[in-house]
């Protein structure tokens, strides 16, 4: 089977998102919050337990070389995932090289989907931070004024 240059598909993905950004501006990120979910849903067996689903998804990603490692923490307001060595690094670098924020992260989308299965409310991904090949995905669980009382 012919596979071609992997960078070709990465470039197409990035350019599609970039053109969407050019058309829709900042709002584009809210139209890309389901990208990747249907694919991952076909690969991961989801149960009723959020904790199990997170572990299952994490295992799938690592076992299938989507990334090298995943660590996560959770508090009352947010769920934070650190993804090391993501297979989408090429695309991420295209955002960086073009001075754009990361508009779409399929892995974050799936984590948000897993959380929504429990709460029935869509969470919010705050801008992705990247450091030393680690993407820090911070997901605000839901809207709540109690967050303003959170200690630094």
């Amino acid at each position: 089977m012919m596979t071609g240059d992997k960078n070709f598909k990465d470039t197409l993905f990035f350019e599609s998102v970039r053109e969407f950004w050019n058309e829709r501006g900042r709002g584009a990120r809210y139209r890309l919050t389901t990208v990747g979910i249907s694919f991952f849903k076909g690969k991961v067996t989801l149960s009723k337990s959020k904790a199990e689903n997170i572990e299952e998804f994490k295992k799938y990603l690592i076992d299938n070389n989507y990334c090298q490692s995943i660590n996560y923490t959770e508090d009352n307001f947010s769920f934070t995932v650190e993804v090391e060595g993501c297979c989408l690094r090429n695309i991420r670098e295209k955002y960086e090289n073009n001075g754009m924020e990361i508009l779409c992260c399929p892995i974050a989308n799936m984590f948000m989907y897993i959380m929504e299965l429990e709460t029935r409310m869509s969470p919010e991904l705050i801008p992705v931070q990247v450091e030393n090949n680690v993407c820090k995905l911070t997901i605000a669980k839901m809207g709540t004024e109690e967050v303003t009382e959170k200690e630094e």
Binding site: G27, L125, T144
Partner: protein, 224 residues
């Protein structure tokens, strides 16, 4: 400029985003005028892609209010956690006032009012045309001006549909087919409180001569 030439400007200036409503009902006659104004908006190739759903059922209005509240609340909670909100209000020195604003934004209450209005108009657009967002926006401006001219109140609310996940929930609830997208929702009713006009950027900072960059109107004295 004589009075007749200022008429349209004055009508446009009178339009405000209303977030507080009385219990008074919107008449069918007024509703029809509003919808007729929307219907006569311009559209590319005269496609007229707009479609409207009139929602008066309390349970449905509550559903839209809840989605709007969640949409606004999570976005602002995300902004708070990401520190963008603190940066945006860094210039505000009154800490108590700042905290009050942060609480209001993160709670989502800025968009939770929609069920207070007598009715909510959902503006949808057909996908299979070239210019749906633009066409529907023209219809929406007609709606806003008609509402204002009838001494009613309205607010353009997108918090409940800007995220595709929320739009999907609303589409399912209201049986909206796949070939139609939701543009925005509009609570319409009698205003209980009319806010002051919001600041506008002066023309001196908006209009360029021939090419982008060279201002058309000279700056007023004292302005940068």
């Amino acid at each position: 400029m004589n009075e007749s030439k200022e008429y349209i400007l004055e009508r446009i200036k009178e339009r405000k985003s209303i977030r507080d409503y009385t219990d008074q009902k919107v008449s069918e006659e007024d509703l029809k005028i509003i919808l007729e104004c929307a219907r006569f908006a311009p559209s590319g190739e005269n496609a007229q892609p707009w479609r409207f759903i009139v929602v008066r059922d309390e349970k449905s209005k509550e559903f839209l209010a809840q989605i709007s509240k969640n949409g606004s609340g999570r976005r602002f909670t995300g902004e708070f956690l990401g520190k963008q909100m603190q940066a945006r209000f860094a210039g505000l020195e009154d800490e108590e006032k700042k905290k009050k604003i942060f609480k209001k934004l993160t709670s989502g209450n800025v968009s939770a009012f929609v069920n207070q209005a007598d009715l909510i108009l959902i503006v949808c657009g057909k996908k299979d045309v070239w210019d749906t967002p633009y066409d529907c926006s023209a219809a929406i401006e007609n709606i806003l001006l008609a509402v204002s001219d009838l001494k009613l109140g309205c607010c353009w609310v997108i918090a409940c549909v800007i995220d595709v996940r929320d739009e999907m929930k609303i589409k399912e609830y209201f049986n909206i087919p796949d070939d139609i997208k939701i543009i925005s929702i509009f609570p319409i009713g009698y205003p209980a409180r009319i806010p002051n006009i919001r600041p506008r950027i002066p023309l001196e900072k908006l209009v360029y001569r021939e090419k982008y960059g060279d201002f058309y109107y000279p700056s007023r004295e004292g302005e940068q």
